[in-house]
Amino acid sequence: MSLAIDCQGLLKRFGSYTAVQGVSFQLPTGAIMGFVGPNGAGKTTLIRMLCGVLVPTEGQATVLGYDVLTQPEEIKQRIGYMSQKFSLYEDLTVRENLDFYAGVYSLYGKKAQEQKNRVIERIGLGERTAQLVSSLSGGWKQRVALACALLHDPQLLILDEPTAGVDPVSRRIFLDLIHQLAKEGMTVLISTHYMDEAATCDYLGFVFYGRLIAFGSPDDMKKKEAKDNLDDLFIYYVEHEASDDPRNFVRKKGGRG
């Protein structure tokens, strides 16, 4: 079984603050993995390290077989990334956004045209290509962002809270798309707040205060802690961890908050 992501003891410090500490996990190719955890837990920092954008302070990781420290350019060319904000150019049309990202991924000429037509058809953007992104609804913007991330046929799709602030119907359509892509062999890493999204993942990672406190398939995890659903499991983990956390201890003693 080949690994899409293999990270060992990843750690990131910003000054004296440790955003991510000692994260290790292995993700097989073709799987969907979900990162779950409260805001500020370090999910985004972790993801950005895996994208080769942030340099880890300690530890090592390979993504698609490339080292994040020494081969970030190779990784960037092979992953598709979509963040929680729709990072599209609002004053450009859908097609102009696609043109830009095709160029940025070094696609040109006939090949670029083919790839653009392919994602437009795939995502169902046909009638919207001439529309300015600013005039699209949240759900459509999200689909355009996904289209931009898929232009260069990435082997790994990294989605950082892609469905935050999107209506339930659009969210459903979007998730179906992601699952279809995974079926076709694409590895997907997705961070989310929604437990229904997390439940459909092959693997789950609970991120809390910069640490990966649990990793495994949703069913295994539920069985292990004898919980019926992921919500309970999540709350259990958070409470369990929070009582151990020295920061919480100090806070209680000091009588703050």
Partner: protein, 381 residues
Amino acid sequence: MGGFSWVRFLAVLRKEFIHIRRDRASLIMAIAMPIGMLLLFGYAVNTDVDHLSTVVWDQSQTADSRDFITSIRNTQYLDPDEYVQGYHQIEGYLDSGKARVAVIIPPDFGKELQRDNGQGDVQVLVDGSDPTIARAAMSAVQMLGLNKSLEIQGVRLAARGAAAGTNMPLNIETRVWYNPDMKSMVFNIPALIGLILQNVIAMLTSFSIVREKERGTMEQVVVTPIRSLELLMGKLLPFVLIGFVSLTLILATGIFWFGVMPAGSIPLLVFLSTIFLFTILAIGLLISSVAKTQLQAMQMTFILILPSILLSGFIFPRETMPIPLKILGGLFPLTYFLNIVRGIFLKGVGMEYLWQDTLILCAFAIILVGIAAKKFKKNLD
């Protein structure tokens, strides 16, 4: 993964041009602002003092006094249009600002002039609230008094039959070079090229990068394989072009509207403006690396603009500044560029006199571009 990619660079370039085309505010800033500023500064920043409103209290009412008043009018500096009786009225005119200068001719003025060896007195009151105006008015009437005196003296001497003595013992001929009419417009318009380029380009450049940070698109772009050099070049090149458009507009307006013709070589001016443009792009880039929002970028640009207007020699001569301010002014590339444009426009000089300023400007360009590019790269990582 290889070096510079033209495909990625062109993708950024094309996108930037679409941004500029769609963003009406930038377009207006790039085209209307240079012309607007040129018209505004060209007319408002005018230190030429002439046609000052003047009141006259002519108590003499003789041919001589009327002749004197006509001479005053002929200087072009003073317009003796109002006639009053008494100091009380004069005070009213000066207090209200209806007149800047008051000329009082006493009753015996005509009689004294006609009398052999007589001396006619004239009192001139000047509103000194604005020193520039006061100085101009004073030197105008003093010059007039001297000329008038010499003229009358000549007539008197001739009447005595001393024909040989009418020649002046000393004759000073002054010629004003470069700006013979001493019009401040001729001095200001070339300098505006520098000022406008600085303001417009620094602001637009910093805006275009800060906007991406502010809207979160930069976050997406850094995850792509694009290199910082490709991104930087793609983002800056459009502003080099806008800079040239602005430069052409300012030159054309200066030449065809204000009639300020460059005495020197226009290609040299364009070439040296390009170097200046690079220092400004770098400043814009530096602002964008510090500023987080477009508002901050705007404020920082203004922090740059105000001292550069005051200290670069744009309005006030640097020679008379105290040393610390002079040094501070030396930190602005605009200071050196002003020497260059004024040199080329007014004096028509070439590199033989401008090489020092050019070298300093080059040094600024290299250092600023270096720092800015480094900071930009670091921000991306």
